[in-house]
């Protein structure tokens, strides 16, 4: 197994880093962007750079490298939500005509798609139950649809006689938008006889939906990883400079040991999250392999993510609680990613279902 990246990938990382660290050059700039509409400001430039076409042209490795850079500045742009997930579904399931109509426009930043899949009162299950499709229209309610109000195109999962299908909607629905704790927007979207066209052939798309969600989970893992890295770096920097009792905080072993434990969590999480990308990028991996890798990654996002996010605040003390300071926003985003990929109990259940299929878990094929 090989975790190294090539020179082209290094160039991609450098270019994306250069762009997003300029657009979001401080916590204050980023906060101002999230407080204005639509809540993100790097989108056009990411499109110009070609980043928004990566999921359609490159491998999950490039997607993950970009997501990690976005995570380091907690860029509020919906790269994973709109491009990896919604765009990925159109690419995977759409007819040739639909792909031609949408993919270039999505990659160019002209059309912003989002995937409406979660439903009120349910967990991260991939099947649709409360939104149904019949006679060319959708009815029912979706929950927590990120940037639904700004979106030009909704990809909606809905129950049909054949199973869970996918549908495209451009108008005829209501979106009740709220701010999320991490500065983004999520809407409750209600369909009531809303005209919708099937994405692709119109049959059961459960497998494609599950796969797309798992690939998004793996990309989210890297976004979380970038944020965890910076949360730790910021905390370590603070311990070295903040003075109390006339000395810097790194005089106190109790604090240094906690920082060391955060480093342990970060490095272990980095390994699993990167491994998951390697699984996703391997053409021999089955959907089941990718699902398992996504769940392993998600467990680390939740465990290591919360460990680092919450201790980063604690080790800062009161300043870590303020909206003015960066570390709390990182914590909020890391927690939010856990809520997007599914929590520890959800993924533990998923992995427990296949527990007896292997004797020992072997990361190398």
């Amino acid at each position: 197994m090989d975790f190294t990246i090539d020179s082209e990938q290094r160039d991609l990382v450098a270019a994306v880093r250069g762009l997003v660290t300029k657009v979001y050059d401080s916590s204050e700039t980023r906060r101002a962007a999230t407080n204005a509409e639509p809540g993100f400001t790097a989108w056009e430039r990411l499109a110009e750079m070609g980043v928004l076409s990566l999921p359609f042209e490159a491998t999950p490795a490039e997607v993950s490298l970009v997501a990690e850079e976005l995570g380091k500045v907690i860029a509020p742009d919906p790269f994973v939500e709109s491009i990896v997930l919604a765009g990925g579904l159109i690419e995977a399931v759409g007819s040739d005509e639909q792909k031609e109509e949408y993919l270039d426009a999505i990659a160019g930043g002209e059309i912003l798609p989002v995937f409406a899949w979660a439903e009120p009162g349910r967990d991260w299950a991939a099947d649709a139950a409360s939104v149904t499709f019949s006679d060319g229209t959708l009815s029912g309610t979706k929950a927590s649809v990120i940037h639904a109000e700004r979106a030009d195109l909704l990809v909606v999962s809905a129950a049909t006689d054949a199973g869970t299908g996918l549908f495209l909607v451009t108008e005829g629905y209501t979106a009740e938008t709220e701010r999320t704790h991490d500065g983004s927007r999520a809407a409750t979207v209600t369909f009531d006889g809303t005209p919708a066209v099937p994405l692709g052939a119109g049959g059961d798309e459960s497998a494609a939906i599950a796969r797309a969600l798992d690939l998004a989970r793996i990309a989210y893992g890297h976004e979380a990883l970038g944020a965890m890295q910076v949360a730790l770096d910021t905390t370590v920097g603070y311990l070295k400079t903040r003075k109390q009792f006339g000395v810097t905080l790194n005089t106190f072993q109790a604090l240094n040991f906690r920082a060391a434990d955060l480093y342990v969590s970060l490095e272990l999480a980095r390994s699993v999250i990167t491994w998951a990308t390697v699984v996703a990028a391997d053409e021999n991996s089955s959907d089941a392999d990718i699902a398992a890798a996504a769940s392993q990654s998600a467990l680390q996002v939740n465990r290591a993510g919360r460990h680092i996010a919450l201790d980063a605040i604690q080790l800062h003390g009161g300043i870590g609680m303020t909206a003015e300071y960066s570390v709390g926003h990182y914590a909020s985003r890391i927690i939010a990613i856990g809520q997007l990929v599914g929590d520890e109990a959800f993924h533990t259940d998923r992995l427990a279902a296949t527990l007896t299929e292997h004797d020992v878990l072997d990361p190398i094929g």
């Binding site: 490795a61 070295k240 272990l268 990028a281 391997d282 021999n284 467990l299 533990t348 190398i364």
Partner: protein, 371 residues
């Protein structure tokens, strides 16, 4: 980035698996898998099977029996050995004194000791810790005072694991009591344990067993040619040794095998549903440990441990303990008399030895984070 093993590495893995599961006696491997104690004869027999095939000391220089393997191949060798229940080559020989002699010893001392060390013809004991020098190893007080062609050694070592089997002991001794810093003035000395004045006294542990000892030295006369490297440079050699010790300490393969046993037992007893969450969590953490070991291996300079090896030591020891705790819990009330509870108690040692986990946190905070 690549997930699949190359055809060569795939073939290498098959070769290792085939060898370990067919050439090392099943009666020895089943004792390891049942986590029973091995006799000295069984340790020696197993290591000699490996050594005859050139598989006992792959990390050593090639001219002394090592292999020109990639880090990934070394990982595969280690992993397959543990999965098959093959006792690892005795760490005191293969990972500790052998590499020190090979890297720092004179040609004469290499010729005297290396072949016998690889073949476990000599069973080495470790003479590092002292009653007042545990984590603060450099404050050791055992002295070796030069008199003509001999050192006269006086003092006490402790926690000498399997010292009751020891033929020779490698020691850190103070040769210059007047050195400015306590790390200076320490030398690395080899002592024949049959020399008059050496006394081994067993220490009983909380699991009831006797795997560690105190070793006393009273006017023990040691020829000067038993000094490894230069006088007063022993601390450098000791740091090299401890770095190597830390890398092997993660015990990924053994924990994976023990977790598979736990899963099997839970299933047999109809308790899989109850323990599934813990097993999934531990599989996830072991996956993290193993993929980290692969990352660390890929980025290690030859012979020099990656600073993140402290991560492997901390997490590896925690998982060894957590898996043995799970095995004990699955036993139910039978744990009161089962071996599993004793192994669980015995495994408290793994977060203490090899540089305690608190020492590792100090290394991470200082060396890596710059705190």
């Amino acid at each position: 980035m690549r997930l699949q093993l190359s055809p060569e590495d795939q073939a290498f893995r098959e070769e290792m698996r085939e060898f370990f599961t067919t050439q090392v006696p099943e009666r020895i491997r089943s004792k390891v898998i049942a986590r029973e104690e091995l006799s000295k004869e069984e340790w020696v027999e197993s290591q000699q099977v490996l050594n005859a095939a050139g598989l006992a000391v792959p990390g050593w220089p090639v001219e002394w029996g090592g292999k020109d393997w990639t880090q990934l191949q070394r990982h595969i060798w280690h992993e397959e050995m543990q999965l098959a229940g093959v006792p690892q080559p005795l760490a005191f020989n293969a990972s500790m004194v052998g590499p020190v002699i090979a890297n720092f010893g004179s040609q004469e001392i290499k010729e005297r000791f290396l072949a016998k060390t690889a073949n476990l013809d000599i069973w080495w004991a470790q003479g590092f810790s002292e009653p007042d020098a545990g984590s603060d190893l450099a404050s050791l007080r055992t002295t070796a005072i030069r008199e003509g062609d001999e050192y006269v050694v006086n003092g006490q070592k402790t926690w000498t694991t399997l010292g009751q089997y020891g033929d020779w002991i490698f020691m850190l001794v103070r040769t210059d009591p007047k050195a400015e810093k306590k790390q200076q003035g320490i030398s690395f000395l080899l002592i024949d344990m049959t020399t008059p004045g050496v006394t081994v006294r067993p220490i009983q542990l909380i699991d009831g067993g006797f795997e560690v000892n105190e070793v006393f030295f009273e006017n023990v006369r040691v020829p000067v040619e038993n000094l490894v490297g230069e006088e007063n440079k022993g601390w450098t050699y000791a740091k090299f040794l401890l770095g190597n010790e830390r890398v092997g300490i993660a015990q990924v393969g053994a924990s994976k095998r023990n977790l598979a046993t736990a899963k099997e037992r839970a299933k047999e007893r109809g308790l899989l549903e109850r323990y599934a969450g813990r097993i999934v969590g531990l599989e996830n953490e072991l996956l993290a440990l193993e993929t980290t070991a692969l990352r660390v291996a890929a980025h290690s300079d030859a012979g020099k441990p990656h600073p993140a090896s402290s991560v492997l030591k901390i997490k590896g020891s925690q998982l060894t303990q957590a898996v043995s705790e799970l095995l004990m819990d699955i036993e139910g009330p039978a744990a009161l008399t089962s071996r599993d509870a004793r192994v669980f108690l015995n495994n408290r040692k793994v977060s203490i030895y090899g540089g305690s986990n608190e020492v590792q946190r100090t290394i991470i905070a200082g060396t890596i984070l710059g705190l």
